[in-house]
C-alpha cells in the first residue's frame, strides 16, 4: 500500500500511549485507493494493521470507537472524527468490512475482547463505554462483551457520517441513524464492481458465440459482432440497470425482476435491430436468463435479502433457467438443419 497516511507514527504528547495517531483528512492517495477499490483493482490487499489508533489528543474521557481493518471503512470513520479526540480500536477482520466480517464472525465478540486486552484500552480511559458500529451487531454479543471485559458496548450509527450527531445526542441513536437503507445512490456506487466482476466470464461467452455464429452457423462477422454487442448489453442490464431500477421492477424475487428486465431489454433490441418483437428466438430464450442470473447474484450486494429467501429463489429458478436455455439450444439446432 506504500503511501498510506494513516500509519504515520509520530511521537505524541499522551503519556504511556501505545496508540498510533491518524489524520482525519483524506489524502489524494486515499481517494485514489478508494476509487481503485470500487473498481476492484488490488482490493484484496486493502487493509491496515489491527491495534490502537487515535484522532486528535484523546484523554481518559474520550470515546472509544471500534472498527474493522478494511481500510475503506477505517478511512470513512477517521474522516468523520474530524475535530474529535478519540481512541479507535481496529480489529483484525482480514481486511473485510464490518458488515461482512460480522456475518462471518471475524468482527466478533472473541476478537473484540482480545483487542480490548491487547490494546490495554482500559488503562487509557476512566469510563466504560466502547462504541461499536451497529452493522457489527450480528458478530458482537453486547452482554458477552460486558461479562468478559467489563466494558459496555454502545451501538453507534449505521453510517459514520452520523457520528457527530450521535455524540451530540448523548450517544442516543435516532430511528433514522439505525436503519439500513439501500438508496439509488448506494446501489449505483456498487455497479462498477458488479460490472467488472461480470466481465470475468466474458471470454468464455465470446468463444461460445464465435463457435455458434462463425464456425457452426457460418454466419458473417456482422452477426457475430451484433451478438457481442447484445451480450455486453445484457451484462450492463444485469449489473448496472438492475441495481438502478431495483425498486421499480415488479415482484420481490430478484431472479424474476431480472428476467423481466432482460425481456424488456431483448424486446427493445429486437424492435430496434430486427423490427419485430420476437426477433431472434434464441436471444429471447437465453438473454433474459443471463440478466436474471446477474440480477439474482445482486442479492449478495443488497442490504435486505435473507439466506432462506436466496435459497428459495435458487430452488425455483434453476430448473426454469435450464428449461429456457435448453429450448434455446433446440431452436438453434432446428435453425441449422
Amino acid at each position: 500500500m506504500g503511501n498510506c497516511s494513516c500509519q504515520n507514527k509520530k511521537p505524541n504528547s499522551v503519556n504511556n500511549s501505545n496508540a498510533i495517531e491518524v489524520k482525519t483528512e483524506m489524502s489524494i492517495m486515499d481517494t485514489i485507493g478508494r476509487w481503485k477499490a470500487r473498481w476492484n483493482i488490488g482490493r484484496m490487499n486493502y487493509k491496515i494493521s489491527p491495534g490502537l489508533y487515535m484522532t486528535g489528543r484523546p484523554g481518559p474521557d474520550s470515546e472509544v470507537f471500534i472498527s474493522s481493518n478494511y481500510k475503506m471503512s477505517f478511512d470513512i470513520l477517521r474522516k468523520n472524527l474530524n475535530g474529535i479526540n478519540s481512541w479507535i480500536i481496529v480489529l483484525d477482520t482480514a481486511g473485510i468490512n464490518v458488515w461482512c466480517a460480522a456475518g462471518k464472525g471475524t468482527f466478533g465478540t472473541d476478537e473484540l475482547v482480545r483487542m480490548i486486552d491487547q490494546t490495554s484500552i482500559k488503562d487509557h480511559i476512566d469510563h466504560k463505554r466502547i462504541i461499536v458500529p451497529q452493522l457489527g451487531a450480528p458478530g458482537i454479543s453486547a452482554h458477552e462483551v460486558k461479562k468478559r471485559s467489563g466494558l459496555n458496548v454502545v451501538y453507534g450509527p449505521v453510517k459514520a457520517s452520523d457520528i457527530k450527531n450521535f455524540l451530540k445526542n448523548n450517544r442516543e441513536i435516532t430511528d433514522k441513524m439505525k436503519k439500513v437503507t439501500f438508496t439509488f445512490f448506494e446501489r449505483l456506487v456498487l455497479t462498477p464492481t458488479e460490472f467488472v466482476l461480470s466481465l470475468k466470464y466474458s471470454p468464455l461467452f465470446l468463444i461460445l458465440l464465435f463457435l455458434v455464429d462463425i464456425i457452426i452457423g457460418k454466419n458473417g462477422l456482422e452477426v457475430f459482432y451484433k451478438d457481442i454487442l447484445i451480450f455486453f448489453g445484457a451484462l450492463f442490464s444485469g449489473t448496472v440497470l438492475f441495481p438502478a431500477l431495483l425498486p421499480f421492477l415488479p415482484f420481490r424475487s430478484f431472479a424474476l425482476k431480472g428476467w423481466i428486465l432482460g425481456m424488456i431489454y431483448i424486446v427493445t433490441i429486437n424492435l430496434m435491430a430486427f423490427n419485430s418483437i420476437q426477433g431472434n428466438y434464441v436471444h429471447m430464450l437465453t438473454i433474459p436468463i443471463l440478466v436474471s442470473f446477474l440480477s439474482y447474484n445482486f442479492t449478495g450486494s443488497s442490504t435486505y435479502t435473507s439466506l432462506t429467501g436466496v435459497e428459495k429463489e435458487l430452488k425455483i429458478s434453476l430448473p426454469l433457467y435450464g428449461i429456457s436455455i435448453l429450448s434455446g439450444v433446440v431452436v438453434l439446432l432446428i435453425n441449422f438443419f
Partner: protein, 97 residues
C-alpha cells in the same frame, strides 16, 4: 421506497415468555423489525428480516431465534457446490454482502 424481500421466508422466532422488553433487539435490528409494546418485544413485519442474527446474539434473555446467514447468491451457490454452509466469499469477491 421500502424494499421487501420474499414473503414468509425469514426464519425468526420470538419467545414472548422469555422476553423482558429490554429493547436490545430494537437497538440492533437494521430493518426495524421489532417494537416494544407493553414491556414485550413484538415482530412488526417478518418480511423485513434479513436473517442477520444481530437480535439473537444480542438478546440477553435468549428469547430470539434466527436462522443466521448471508443472503448472498454466490455464497449459496458455492455452499451447494461444495456441500458446505453458505459463507460470504467477500475475501475474493468484493461485491458480496
Amino acid at each position: 421506497m421500502k424494499m421487501k424481500y420474499l414473503k414468509n421466508v425469514a426464519q425468526l422466532k420470538l419467545d414472548s415468555d422469555k422476553c423482558t422488553g429490554c429493547g436490545m433487539c430494537v437497538k440492533v435490528c437494521p430493518h426495524a423489525v421489532f417494537v416494544i409494546d407493553n414491556k414485550k418485544a413484538i415482530i412488526t413485519d417478518r418480511d423485513l428480516c434479513m436473517e442477520c442474527g444481530a437480535c439473537q446474539v444480542n438478546c440477553p434473555f435468549d428469547a430470539l431465534e434466527v436462522r443466521k446467514g448471508v443472503g448472498c447468491a454466490s455464497a449459496v451457490i458455492k455452499g451447494k457446490l461444495t456441500g458446505s454452509e453458505p459463507t460470504c466469499g467477500c475475501s475474493d469477491t468484493a461485491g458480496c454482502c
